[in-house]
Amino acid sequence: MDGEADGSVTVSEDSGRRRRVHGMLKLYYGLNEEGKTPEQPESLDPCDINGPHFDPELYLNKLRRECSLAELMDQETCMVKQIRSLDSDMQTLVYENYNKFISATDTIRKMKNDFKKMEDEMDCLSANMAAITDFSARISGTLQDQHTQITKLSGVHTLLRKLQFLFELPARLNKCLELQAYAQAVSSHRRARCVLQQYSHLPSFKGIQDDCHAIMDKLAQELRQKFRDGGSSAKDLSECVELLLQLDEPAEELCDKFLSHARSRLESDLQGLEAEIRPYPSTSALKDASARRSSSAAPVGSPTDGSPKTSSLSSPSSNTDILEFIDRGCNEFVSSLCLVITSYQELFINHAQTGELASKNIPQMANGKLHAFVDDLAARYFSLVERRIQEEKGVGDNSLLVRALDRFHRRLQAVAKLLPGSAVPNQGTEIVIRAATERVKQYLCALQSFYMDSLTDVRQALATPRLSVAGASVAGGGALLGGPASGRDAPTSLPELLSSLSASILNQIKSVLASVHLFTAKDITFSNKPYFKGEFCSQGVRESLVVSFIKFLCQSSRQFCESAGDKGGSTPPALLLLLSRLCLDYETSTISYILTLTDEQFLVQHHSPVTPVTSLCAEAREAAQKLLNHYVKVQGLIISQMLRKSVETRDWVNTIEPRNVRAVMKRVVEDTTSIDVQVGLLYEEGVRKAHSSDSSKRTFSVYSSSRQQARYAASYTPSAPMDTNLLSNIHKLFSERIDIFSSVEFNKVSVMTGIIKISLKTFLECVRLRTFGRYGLQQIQVDCHYLQMYLWRFVSDENLVHFLLDEIVGSSAHRCLDPAPMEQSVIEVICERG
């Protein structure tokens, strides 16, 4: 059509115009150019000449009504013009269409001619094709025979090849056997087996089959032999097993054989391990081993472990250290165990599951056997490891043991992965737990022995300067002030000893905690087991290590009081004092510090009830109290003993007039002073009741001059005894009862009061058992005055000293055959001169 359009030049000479004409036509036929109806308001107007609803009547009327004549005329001309142009347009269109019809008619005529020619040629072609078909059919017919023959021949060929394979099979198998290409032999045989089975009724095949069987039996025999021989590697072995399985050997038997073979190899590993551990060592052998170790262990230990292992404290009793031992165990035993498990599983379980064996419950059977096997061997391995761990007694370096246990535990995880549901890893964890608990116990022992050792050190340290004290105080002689001076000289070291003792204990505890902390380190595999997170921290470390040690400390301190009390007291008093202070320090701060430290380090979560700090503190305080009481008792007894001897050995009836204070009193004051210094080094002063400024001067002036005089004076009248009783009773009514061996407070004054109380009470009781002459009484007066002068300063309530000394003088006056007291002034002169 486009071609036609090009041809009609006139139509398309002006596209714009043509379009306009098209538009007119379309308008005429009621179609919009875009398929849209023209705008309604225009088209509905009956007066629109171009609208579809044009009404000529109305239009004409409208024109006539609206327009003037001239306009009408114009309208008319215009209209005529438009009509004319429309007419010419219409003529052009008609012309164009006509031309197109003409050319179409021409084309159709031409086509009619061409088709006629083509029909002839087609006829010719079909005739040729028929000839070709005919020929082809004829060729096929001739070739038919030969084709069937070829097919048949090729079938025969394959059959012959199979037969050849079968005939050659025995030879081939033999050759394989010779070359030990067992796998090939088995696969060959497998291929032929069914055929041979099927045609076994034919004699020739039967022969072949028998041959094959014989060979295969031989082969199986050989495989079994190889299997039995220990020499082959695990890989070979597994190959063997695989082949044997393919040869329909009973799986159960194979399992057993496989396992027993593996067992023999693992056993040799275990024996190697066992050789590492010395046969259960007797104590002498143990020493021997450790002695030997000192020479041999250092080079052995150093390659596996670097610097921390140089400590001589770690002395395992066998030649190799534990890390090495565990390493060897892991590398040899555990890894071969893993290998065995993997290959076994590969062979009997995974393999069987896919193959035809699955139906026979073989995996279950094999699995059961494997578990029993692993459990058995692991138990032996564990017992060895445990024995080895038990030999690990030295507590110097824990990291080695922890690392060894870690490795041990880590390697068992491999077994756990290979063999889910096995008890082995749990048992391993239990061993680790046991080892850890054992270790904690050892640390406790070590701490305890460390404590006892340091006490021995302290004792020695105390013993050495004590000699110098004795020497100094003897040298000091009568000079009273020499007492404290020389006394101070010697025990200066007491606070130092205390601080060094407590510091070394604390350090030891810290280092032990650090060592034990290794068990819970993040990089250790077993540290995230619930035991190590919970129970080990709370029960193991906190309770059975730290708390036990503190308890031990208190208890051993208490034992000092008990054992020394009866058997003559070998404990030096200074040690008692020092320990008492130590316990008190523990009560006030150290215990809570240590426990807080422990709790922080181990993040103890208290699932189970733990010993509270307060009860430990109470225990420590009790121990401190007991020690201090015992100290007071011991020191009091020492002074008492001096006083008692001095009273008991003297003939008080026949004594000379006193000219001096007896030396023993000076000694008592000196000793008291040095005790005061000693206690002052460790304990605070304490409170004392206010006393008058001239306490030393007070002495018994009151009682000697008035009351005592009254007593003596009264004693010459018959009613006297009643009076003295009355007086002393009245006196006692107003003074509080004195407990002699009573508990003291933790301060110097209280301690000194206790000691002086004991001493003076002894003095009193001894005096009451003696009878005095006049000068005996006077000597006692002098002595008491002397004591009065010096002792008041030590006690909390000087009235106590006054009261006891009063009692002593009063009692000696009672026990005097001739009570004639000395003049107070003379007494004072004598005392001051002394």
């Binding site: 009390g565 009836v653 005894p721 009783n725 009862r737 407990d739 061996f741 009781e765 009878t771 055959l817």
Partner: protein, 410 residues
């Protein structure tokens, strides 16, 4: 309640010696010996009227010297022994001028005066009781004097510390402990003659001295226990040889001993380490029980004669302590009672209940004394009653608390 209140009696003199009148089983009677260097010493006979809670006293003069120990014959109410100190020069001077001047004393001291401890057997005048009743207001004024039966003197054997009567004997045998000798005396002619039948001597380093002793009532009265320094020794009286020795029985001096009246091997001791220890003499390594209730030396320990769980201790801390040592007594769980009342199930049930609280315990601490208590004794007539004597001469009579008494009895 008022029955449990203590009864207090004051002596004029200081006193250490106290004994129950052993032969007297009807009246509650104690004998107290005084210690005075200046006046005639006395023996106070203290009768306690249980019904009316009243004390009656009688005084006998003991002019020989101050009394350190007193013992009553188990057979004859009127016979007793004392150990006393006398200063020979002093006595002499006293006769010259009882209330002397210093001049006499210078003479006294120039002479080599010596204090001697003696022991003697005495008889109370037969009419002391009637005599005292006639003049109850002023009994001290005309006191009668003790009649000396015989002296247990043996100058070769040193100073007597105490005299022990044969327990439950016929009053014919006594033992005196003098320095390091134990002398067994036979009293003849109604105790007017005493002869030493055998002696035992303590040998050893230093000056050994018996401080206390006790004649065992067991083994047919053939054993004696003595104390010297820190050791306790047992003696066989037939051979006068040592049969056991508890070295270091106490940390300090041993002050007193007593045998369990019902368990033959059990022995109580007390001493200056403030402890009371109970021993099984078959094993002398360790005491079977130790009490540490006193705060000063313990001077006396006494088993109750009938109920040996009751133990009385006296101490120079001025306290008297009554302990109930059930665990080592002869009737640890009231077996004797159980046997008697086995038929009554209800009672048995009650018995079970009462077993629980019957643990070794301090029953009571008596604080009536103001001075050191050196002696305590159970009454021989009333097993629930005891007396204690402190140095200031105060005698206190107490009873076992009623609750405990009924618990032991029922």
């Amino acid at each position: 309640m008022e029955d449990d209140a203590p009864v207090i009696y004051g002596l004029e003199f200081q006193a250490r010696a106290l004994t129950a009148q052993t032969a007297e089983t009807d009246a509650i009677r104690f004998l107290v010996g005084t210690q005075s260097l200046k006046f005639d010493n006395q023996i106070h006979i203290i009768d306690f009227d249980d019904e009316n809670n009243i004390i009656n006293k009688n005084v006998l003069l003991h002019q020989a010297g101050e009394i350190w120990h007193i013992g009553a014959s188990p057979a004859d109410k009127a016979v007793l022994t004392t150990c006393y100190n006398k200063s020979e020069s002093y006595c002499f001077l006293l006769s010259l001028a009882p209330f002397t001047t210093s001049l006499c004393f210078s003479f006294f001291f120039s002479s080599d005066s010596r204090l001697v401890s003696c022991a003697a057997v005495w008889r109370m005048p037969s009419d002391w009781e009637t005599g005292s009743h006639e003049s109850p207001d002023d009994s001290a004024h005309n006191p009668q004097t003790l009649e000396l039966l015989c002296r247990l003197d043996d100058s070769a054997h040193g100073n007597a510390a105490c005299v022990l009567w044969e327990p439950m004997g016929d009053g014919k045998r006594v033992i005196s402990l003098a320095d390091n000798n134990a002398l067994l005396w036979d009293l003849q002619e109604s105790s007017t003659q005493a002869t030493v039948s055998s002696t035992a001597t303590l040998e050893g380093k230093g000056q050994l001295k018996f401080t206390a002793g006790k004649w065992s009532p067991h083994h047919n009265c053939s054993q004696l226990a003595t104390a010297n320094d820190t050791a306790i020794r047992g003696w066989d009286l037939r051979t006068m040889s040592q049969i056991y020795c508890i070295e270091n029985a106490h940390g300090q001096l041993v002050r007193d001993l007593d045998f369990n009246p019902n368990r033959q091997y059990y022995l109580a001791s007390c001493g200056d380490d403030c402890k009371v220890k109970f021993w099984d003499v078959r094993n002398v390594q360790e005491p079977i029980k130790t009490l540490e209730e006193h705060s000063h030396w313990v001077w006396s320990v006494r088993y109750n004669h009938s109920h040996d769980q009751l133990v009385l201790t006296a101490s120079s801390d001025s306290r008297l302590i009554l302990s109930n040592m059930v665990s080592i007594s002869s009737e640890p769980f009231g077996h004797l009672v159980d046997d008697e009342e086995l038929s009554e199930g209800e009672d048995n049930h009650q018995e079970d209940k009462s077993k629980e609280p019957l643990k070794d315990s301090v029953v009571s601490t008596y604080e009536e004394h103001e001075d050191s208590v050196y002696a305590a004794e159970w009454s021989s007539a009333d097993p629930w009653l005891f007396a204690s004597l402190s140095y200031d001469g105060r005698l206190v009579i107490n009873r076992v608390p009623r609750a405990l008494k009924y618990r032991i009895l029922l």
